[in-house]
């Protein structure tokens, strides 16, 4: 549900570099000294590695159901030597399911954030770069998308499109469009008033060159921060939509949200079925949030001393 972080504004994003050091290099240097960033990046790295190397890491095949007495209606076996995290209610190894679930969550999270980023950024650049009537039309459209909470927007799209992975990504991506559109537009507007843009204009550069070559690259910082924060939101929203029955029915392997759903009615006899995936979502989202917050801090010129 949620927006783990406030939308950031482009204010104070200064284009000029520090003496002898580019903005990015300086930011990266400060990032490495920031404990929040290190913890966040480590969590993120583990998550991505697990997702990418799932087949190598998982002790069993995904969804390898073995009907045994280990998983019945009122008993599910917990941690054991063969199954360190226990088994799920269909007799599959819990650790394996979690590892493959990471893959699902990562793919859906990244793709949907990319959809939101590309579409939102395009709208923002269009509005901020062209201004005038285009700006009015685009921003009215964004206002419409903003007139309902983002999870409800995702719900309404997912409900209309049906339960496929593609629908899920479009729904969550579309819910992010207004955030990126407003961010980019505000960023472009504040940039276009700055001296270096005036200078570029005075030099006779074309408007398109100024926008693409100067204004846009300088708006990238806040956008990148927002994208990192939105990855956390996306992963939580995927789980929420799954919980509401709007997840991906077709996937052979469940993502974490669906694991919680299928585990919750066994909570009393086997709490780990819902607990592990829930904690996995929280930790992963925390990783992205920490990194995003740390990035925002180091890119803030007020912090640069």
């Amino acid at each position: 549900m949620t927006m783990p972080a406030t939308t950031i504004t482009a204010e104070g994003q200064s284009p000029e570099s520090m003496a002898g050091e580019t903005l990015w290099r300086g930011a990266f240097k400060r990032l490495r000294r920031n404990p929040m960033a290190i913890i966040g990046a480590s969590i993120m790295a583990v998550f991505v590695l697990v997702a990418v190397f799932a087949p190598l890491l998982a002790p069993y095949e995904p969804a390898s159901t073995q009907w045994t007495e280990l998983s019945t209606y009122n008993y599910v076996q917990g941690s054991s030597a063969e199954h360190p995290l226990g088994i799920d209610r269909w007799g599959s190894d819990m650790l394996t399911q979690l590892i493959y679930g990471a893959r699902q969550s990562l793919v859906i999270g990244v793709v949907s954030t990319l959809i939101g980023l590309v579409a939102g950024a395009a709208l923002g650049v269009l509005a901020g770069g062209l201004g005038g009537r285009v700006d009015t039309v685009v921003m009215r459209f964004v206002d419409i998308l903003l007139s309902i909470p983002s999870l409800l927007l995702a719900i309404s799209i997912a409900a209309a499109m049906g339960t496929t992975g593609f629908a899920l990504m479009i729904a969550i991506g579309a819910a992010q469009i207004p955030i990126f559109a407003r961010l980019l537009r505000a960023s472009m507007l504040s940039q276009s008033r700055s001296d270096y843009v005036l200078a570029a204009g005075a030099l006779g550069l074309k408007r398109k060159t100024i926008v693409m070559g100067h204004v846009l690259p300088n708006s990238l910082g806040p956008t990148l921060v927002q994208a990192t924060l939105n990855l956390a939101t996306a992963i939580i929203e995927v789980a929420a939509l799954s919980y509401l029955g709007l997840g991906n029915d077709e996937a052979a392997v469940a993502e974490w949200g669906r694991m919680i759903v299928s585990g919750q009615d066994r909570f009393e006899i086997a709490p780990w079925l819902a607990f592990y995936p829930g904690i996995a979502i929280a930790i992963t989202a925390l990783g992205f949030t920490l990194l995003g917050e740390a990035m925002r801090e180091v890119l803030d010129p007020k912090q640069r001393r």
Binding site: M1, R140, I148, L152, A240, E268, P271, G278, A282, L286
Partner: protein, 334 residues
């Protein structure tokens, strides 16, 4: 002031109208056949054709749209396909439950969040500050429905302390003149009903209030820590005012503006979070009704409810903007 309100209300009309258009076309243009989802995978072609005919989905889309807008203008938001009741009636019927839970959630978030954020902001870098900030980060990353499930089993099933299902014990003999169960208990003078309804609100309120709590803590902290470095705070200190006066009159009051904005924004989150929380705690509110409508792809309900929520959301945001005037005299002047 009046002009501002009128202008904002004026902007709301095209936005909501645009939303109704978008919702309408989403349902019809996007892949996925409403009748197929409605009737399930084993529906016969005849059944689907008949369903399309009944709901007018077989007509040209523009004609459908004109019918839809015409009905909207008359205040007719359609009827639920599944339960055959008017969408507006259903919404108004379910709203009190959602408002009750949201109010408890918001109260919890503000009462706990503002002091915690204030304390953390005044004692930055300290041990408590670190704990509060870490806690608030965790608060925004834990999925609401997961937290709700955990609370439900921990506090209720394991410890047996609080009710986890519904809004009131069904065995109580109570009347519901307003559908706000807590209020009904007070009006009818039935203390048991009041108390029981209140107990039922605690866990859903906690679950729903966690994210707003975390966000309010963070905004209050950031705002306070910025304000304490302002010149007027230093001046107040130099004047020899007591720290209590400085904190109340200078720090808190100035730090509150972004907090009020944030609280307003949280109301939107509460409305969407209600879908998840009400489902877990089986509360018969807007969220659970919407959840049921999703399950059977009840499009009139989805369209109508989302439109009503958007309307409430816009009105709330307007009220938040108006409340600035109460806190900040500069806004009042302009």
């Amino acid at each position: 002031m009046l002009r501002f309100v009128v202008r904002r209300l004026g902007l709301m009309v095209p936005t909501l109208f645009g939303l109704s258009v978008l919702l309408f076309f989403w349902v019809r243009v996007l892949p996925g056949d409403p009748c197929r989802s409605l009737l399930g995978q084993r529906a016969t072609p005849e059944g689907i054709a008949r369903c399309n005919e009944v709901y007018g989905f077989d007509k040209p889309i523009l004609e459908q749209y004109v019918t839809y807008v015409g009905a909207l203008m008359r205040g007719d938001f359609g009827s639920s396909i599944d339960l055959h009741e008017p969408v507006l009636d259903a919404f108004l019927n379910k709203l009190p439950a959602t408002i009750e839970v949201s109010a408890v959630a918001l109260l919890f978030a503000i009462v706990l969040g503002v002091p915690l954020g204030y304390y953390a902001g005044r004692h930055q870098g300290g041990w408590w500050d670190t704990t509060i900030v870490s806690g608030s980060l965790l608060g925004v990353t834990i999925p609401v429905f997961f937290l709700a499930i955990l609370l439900k089993y921990l506090f209720a099933r394991q410890l047996g302390l609080l009710p986890t299902q519904g809004r009131q014990d069904a065995r109580l003999d109570v009347e519901h003149p307003t559908n706000f169960y807590v209020l009904d208990g007070i009006i009818t003078g039935n203390f048991d009903a009041f108390w029981d309804a209140s107990l039922h609100l605690i866990l859903p309120g906690l679950a729903l209030g966690t994210i707003p709590l975390a966000i309010i803590v963070r905004i209050t902290r950031a705002s306070v820590s910025e304000v304490v470095h302002e010149d007027y705070v230093r001046t107040a200190e130099a004047k020899g005012l007591t720290s209590g006066t400085i904190n109340r009159r200078h720090v808190l009051r100035n730090a509150l503006l972004p907090v009020v904005t944030t609280i307003g924004l949280q109301l939107g989150l509460l409305l969407s979070g209600a879908v998840l929380t009400e489902t877990v705690f089986n509360i018969d509110g807007v969220g659970q009704y919407l959840y049921a409508a999703i399950g059977v792809r009840d499009y009139p309900v989805l369209q109508g409810f989302i439109l009503f929520i958007a309307l409430m959301y816009s009105v709330i945001n307007l009220l938040v903007d108006l409340s600035y005037g109460l806190i900040d005299p500069r806004v009042r002047a302009s």
